[in-house]
Subunit: 288 residues, 2 copies
């Protein structure tokens, strides 16, 4: 019997506030660069396939990225009756663009990512998310999303804020100035969905983002999902719209989109807006 | 300014199949014993309060135990119209008994835990779950649950299989022999809920347990929850009943119970039965 040769015992470890560690058995590092904004690493793991870390925080893994990307895209897309133009702020791994581009009816997707190195790392190493970044319906702009929404003359039906945690380059994406810009560059009935942290870990930020949205939009709500990799299991997106209700106005997805999905379905859509009691007590004061 | 003295950097680490680690910053170990069935440890952590580990797997933490215990109890209790007697198999930390005993209408709860050391460890160190273990309506039996259900003459309206993973002492609790015993010791309309692993990590075991239940019960389904501590975020309970549908037959909880809960509410109940597409495709063939 051929014996396996001994090798190093390589682990990638995500640290959360000095009290929690998540470790992933690692085959090799594929990309490691200090960009103008953050430290970016792609590692190949035994458990999750290739994984992107920004500043040491796990952003995307090949194995479970479908959960986050399907839930951030198909909830707003099933609510808006006829979306033609969509805007992504952040989303450098490309997964959100990939999900949006499954809809042949979308004429244009603008994606504004501040950090070219995130796009570079994922184009080279994480094809499962970056596979549609050359799609002709996608306009990929490397620039500051806050500046873009303040200055653009375009109007969008769908806006998706696909950001990292509220530290580093994403901090302004959790602020009022940014959302005022979004409110100004959206059509009537526009739907705005944003990465909104974990109710277990960061309830204060959930409240802050919902209160900002409640000042600017007619409908505000929140929905949850669970993937394999984000610490503390339960995470949320915030929902806002100038007129559309996330439950009453939802409709079945086109069959050619639905058949490709691994997480989202109509039951999950409705169920995701049912929040645990401890979370509901804090956030429902902002719901409209 | 007084400087904090340096001390050891103590971590408790849960290992999952050699490819994943979950680490918790630890203050001290409180209990550590090799019982006749498993290694039992209670540690005091910075992040989760006191935590129980069986054979190195995290079972219960003070900070998030309410999620699991509320979901395993209040789903069946909201479905059965008039439960008088409940049976817990396992559940040595006491959290499931605590939730059941919130219902004044329950006349008797029998809890059958195989390992006295789990009860001992939690009585000494995890009061938040063990606080009702001396309740006069609770009959705590230290014996083998498989043998108990095979031999008892009692009939139960609610059965809750609150087991560890299908390794070690809990292995028979994932087998057909055990569930035949449960079917025989339940009333008409009884509801049987079981810890049923993670759809991300152990879909084969989910299928196995559902197929066993589908051979023995008229109604079979599955529902999900997410807590802070179980690896891979999304976990499930299986549902079975001789006659009651988990959605159509559910009713509001008594207000004096509902007001004490931190996770469960009617929206969460219904939403939990909506399964992600990848899980639904595997398990819905067993649903009745």
């Amino acid at each position: 019997m051929k014996k396996e040769k001994p090798g190093i015992d390589l682990w990638t470890t995500e640290h959360y506030e000095g009290v929690l560690k998540l470790g992933y058995k690692t085959k090799e590092t594929l990309y490691s660069k200090e960009s103008d904004f953050q430290k970016i690493d792609v590692v190949d793991t035994e458990y999750l396939g290739k994984v992107l870390f920004n500043d040491g925080l796990l952003m995307t893994s090949e194995r479970d990225e479908f959960v986050y990307h399907e839930m951030i895209v198909h909830v707003p897309m099933s609510v808006h009756p006829n979306p033609k133009k969509a805007l992504i702020i952040g989303g450098g791994d490309g997964g959100t663009a990939r999900e949006l581009l499954k809809y042949g009816s979308l004429e244009k997707v603008v994606m504004v990512e501040i950090d070219p190195c995130v796009v570079e790392a994922c184009k080279e190493h994480i094809k499962v998310t970056s596979c549609e970044l050359e799609n002709p319906r996608l306009e990929l702009r490397i620039e500051d999303g806050v500046k873009y929404v303040a200055e653009t003359n375009e109007k969008f039906d769908i806006v998706i804020v696909d950001s990292t945690e509220p530290i580093g380059p994403a901090t302004p994406l959790f602020g009022k100035n940014f959302y005022s810009g979004i409110a100004a560059c959206t059509t009537d009935n526009a739907v705005v969905v944003s990465q909104c942290e974990s109710p277990f870990l960061n309830p204060e930020m959930q409240e802050k983002l919902l209160s900002i949205k409640a000042d600017l939009f007619d409908k505000v709500s929140m929905y949850n999902y669970s993937n394999m990799t984000y610490p503390a299991g339960l995470w949320s997106f915030s929902y806002a719209s100038k007129g559309l209700d996330p439950i009453l106005d939802t409709k079945p997805l086109p069959p050619e989109v639905l058949e490709k999905l691994k997480y989202y379905n109509q039951g999950i859509h409705k169920g995701a807006f049912a929040l645990p009691q401890f979370q509901k007590k804090k956030v429902q004061q902002y719901f409209k």
